[in-house]
Symmetry: C2
Amino acid sequence: MSNVFQALSSPVRRKILAFLSEASLTAGEIAGKFEMSKPALSKHLSILTNAGLISSEKKGQFVHYCLVKENLFASMNDFLVDFCPEGKPLKVESHAIAKEQRDME
Amino acid sequence: MSNVFQALSSPVRRKILAFLSEASLTAGEIAGKFEMSKPALSKHLSILTNAGLISSEKKGQFVHYCLVKENLFASMNDFLVDFCPEGKPLKVESHAIAKEQRDME
DNA sequence: TAGTTAATTAACTATTTAGTTAAATATATA
DNA sequence: TATATATTTAACTAAATAGTTAATTAACTA
């Protein structure tokens, strides 16, 4: 859990996740989207991997990275659930989480 | 947004939020729950305040802090929504975010 | 085999973060 | 008024973070 929020605290890493939510990419392709060295990106990728938010597969000389969406959602859920009072579960749709929550008060 | 995840990246600060989700507390009461100096706690409180996750009100010599639950949920929602494909909105209940998301794949 | 490309690891540096103690501020009370 | 209490701010230090370049590893290709 701590790993996950630590991983999400970086704008660069959140941007990596956003890219991967659209398509799987190789390490080099990801690095190409940032103005930063490949080793720096590689470190970000390893932090996201340790948090369980992405996974990788080596194909030849390339390493393909993809988002592990279920872990992202499971982590956020595990965290948010503690803020939902008993008998008043989250019951939301799409963009509406915040609004519904506001209406609960 | 970056403020929020930065704020949430600390276990101490997440614990503060958890305490405040049960009841509003003064700065001193919060500090009493941690083995850490009051100035250290004060800094954590100001980080959470800047992120919009808590608010405070001075009553006499005490400062009462409370959770701003709607901002917590709104922030999480704004983030997660980008990972929900169009036409496949989040539609979840209570502990089920992760599971529902898994079933979508 | 030699050379090239993709990616990671190692070694290092600058900056940020998280804590400390001491000082300051503001309110309450004897 | 003087003193005590609650909280924050200031000044500082140790540790963690995020980046750099150079070196290494692994796989492809001429």
